[in-house]
């Protein structure tokens, strides 16, 4: 059983005229790279603000390392984050900015500053003033700030915004290194599903402030893979019959549904076999979508 490091239950944030997040449930396990996916304005940043304490929830609760309320507030020190655009003092250098936050957080080991800068490949820009940084450098300094005191969870809001393809690739490696070498749990938001897909192992889809789905990468792969969907009244018998015609690569889904991933499988053969063996065939069709189409379908469902 994996440890849950962060959990939200029925988390809601209402402003005067609109609801930014409504009844959001989210579960993040230790070691996850958790992708928060949604369109611009879907509620990703508000979710992150709620979790980090930048804004207070109208309803619902946040459990951090198994603690809630004031105890969870104290656990916030174990979170490093970068919410919205990276913000630092423009007249100070990268090193000076991080030194300021070391002093603020009571970090005495100043060697961590250079470690953090090295991790995000900003060692060369150590003494450059923040106001002279490019957007990509600012993002990277934001990540250095987030990992400065070796947190257990790092929350990054749209960290790839403004980065060029090489920068995005380098950042992906950084995320993997953080998870692998330091055992950090990462929560990353983005509106670009394919980018998150490349690093995350669990996903939460959010639209109009509502959580659409929380899935693992395996489940997402399953949802998106090309397959033949078979709906019958008897999945057990169907499975036996499929194996009888040489189909080994299939999965039984809830609600009388089987998905056949075997590339050689032909729908007409499956249909004939099932009918001949008195299995009531409710539906049979080919499925499989790209990540983007899958996301569009999810969003479309909530829009309707």
């Amino acid at each position: 059983m994996r440890d849950i490091v962060l959990q939200t239950r029925q988390l809601t944030k209402r402003y005067k005229n609109f609801t930014a997040v409504e009844g959001a449930d989210m579960t993040v396990y230790k070691g996850d790279i958790y992708g928060l996916i949604g369109r611009n304005g879907a509620g990703k940043t508000t979710m992150m603000k709620l979790v980090t304490g930048l804004t207070e929830a109208s309803e619902g609760k946040v459990t951090l390392f198994g603690k809630t309320g004031a105890a969870a507030e104290r656990e916030k020190r174990r979170i490093g984050c970068l919410i919205e655009n990276p913000a630092f003092f423009g007249n100070m250098t990268a090193y000076q900015n991080l030194r300021y936050y070391c002093l603020l957080k009571g970090i005495t080991d100043l060697g961590r500053i250079d470690d953090a800068l090295e991790l995000v490949q900003l060692s060369d820009a150590r003494d450059k003033k923040f106001r002279k940084f490019s957007l990509g450098m600012k993002q990277r300094l934001g990540i250095a700030f987030a990992v400065l005191d070796d947190p257990d969870i790092v929350i990054l809001d749209e960290p790839i915004n403004g980065l060029d393809p090489i920068g995005i690739s380098a950042l992906r490696d950084t995320f993997r290194r953080l998870a692998r070498e330091r055992g950090i749990t990462l929560i990353i938001s983005s509106h670009i599903l394919s980018e998150l897909y490349a690093v995350a192992n669990r996903f939460l889809f959010i639209e109009q402030g509502k959580v659409l789905k929380e899935v693992t990468k395996q489940e997402l792969d399953l949802e998106c893979s090309r397959c033949i969907v078979v709906r019958t009244d008897d999945t057990k018998k169907t499975a036996t019959l499929l194996e009888g015609i040489g189909i080994k690569d299939y999965k039984v889904i809830d609600g009388g549904e089987l998905r056949v991933y075997d590339e050689g499988a032909r729908p007409e053969v499956i249909a004939r076999t099932l009918v001949q063996n008195d299995v009531s065939l409710v539906g049979l069709y080919e499925s499989g979508v790209s990540l983007e189409d899958y996301f569009k379908q999810l969003v479309g469902e909530v829009s309707r």
């Binding site: 304490g53 916030k76 020190r77 630092f88 003092f89 000076q96 936050y101 603020l104 009571g106």
Partner: protein, 253 residues
């Protein structure tokens, strides 16, 4: 609180505001040292004072200039954070929203008052060293005159901090703080010219900031001083409380 003090001191000394404050405050006070003349800004009537009062205390009575100088550290410490949007970094990592306000308020308050005292004592010692006894008072006498103003400046700084948290934008903070004493005097002078409101305007002009600073330093009665101190205490408490509520109720950008 200690961590914030260390961090802010580290940051402040690198800011333009730090240099500007010391250049302005020491620079203008040095003019008095060099020319043996008091100088500064006053929005009230000239003070009546005994010629036996020495130049250093007379200069202290003109400390209204510090109303403008003390905006600088408050602006640097608080408005600077809002301007750069760095507040979220502190709140997501080192402080709760409430803890941030309390730590920031007290640090800014103490730091700004120490700047005020340090600049004045710097003037005192330089004046004494350069101009000797003829232009300088004994330290006890000078301290008594200076500390008579301290509650008033504490109220001013508390109000500045409240405004910085409330307005957030540096330009708005500067506009409101600069215009307020001028507006107060302008309105009262207008009321003074109307016969029916002349009496009340005369009374209220006694509580114009530069007049209060002068009177508290040199010729204020005990009852007048007591009223000024009571008002100062009320402003400090109100500023802290209003700032706290406005800060905790509003979202962080």
């Amino acid at each position: 609180m200690i961590n914030m003090s260390k961090a802010e001191l580290y940051r402040i000394v690198k800011s333009r505001g730090f240099i500007l404050f010391w250049l302005l405050s020491i620079g203008t006070l040095m003019i008095s040292v060099i020319y043996h003349q008091t100088g500064g800004i006053s929005l009230g009537a000239p003070l009546d004072y005994d010629e036996s009062i020495k130049m250093d205390i007379r200069q202290t009575a003109m400390n209204f200039s510090f109303y403008f100088y003390l905006m600088i550290p408050v602006f640097t410490i608080i408005s600077g954070e809002f301007g750069e949007h760095t507040v979220k970094n502190s709140i997501t990592s080192a402080f709760s929203k409430r803890g941030f306000y309390v730590a920031k308020f007290f640090f800014t308050f103490v730091y700004t008052m120490l700047c005020f005292l340090a600049a004045n004592y710097f003037f005192y010692f330089i004046n004494k060293a350069v101009n000797g006894e003829e232009y300088s008072s004994p330290i006890g006498e000078y301290s008594k005159a200076l500390f008579a103003q301290v509650p008033l400046f504490m109220a001013v700084v508390a109000a500045f901090i409240f405004l910085a948290f409330l307005l957030r934008k540096g330009a708005a903070f500067n506009a409101v703080t600069i215009i307020t004493p001028i507006l107060y005097t302008s309105v009262l002078l207008a009321l003074y010219s109307i016969e029916s409101t002349k009496k009340i305007a005369t009374k209220l002009l006694n509580y114009e900031l530069s007049t209060m600073i002068g009177k508290l330093t040199i010729d204020g009665t005990d009852s007048y001083k007591a009223r000024c101190y009571a008002a100062s205490a009320a402003v400090i408490v109100l500023s802290f409380a209003l700032g706290y509520f406005s800060w905790t109720k509003r979202e962080i950008d």
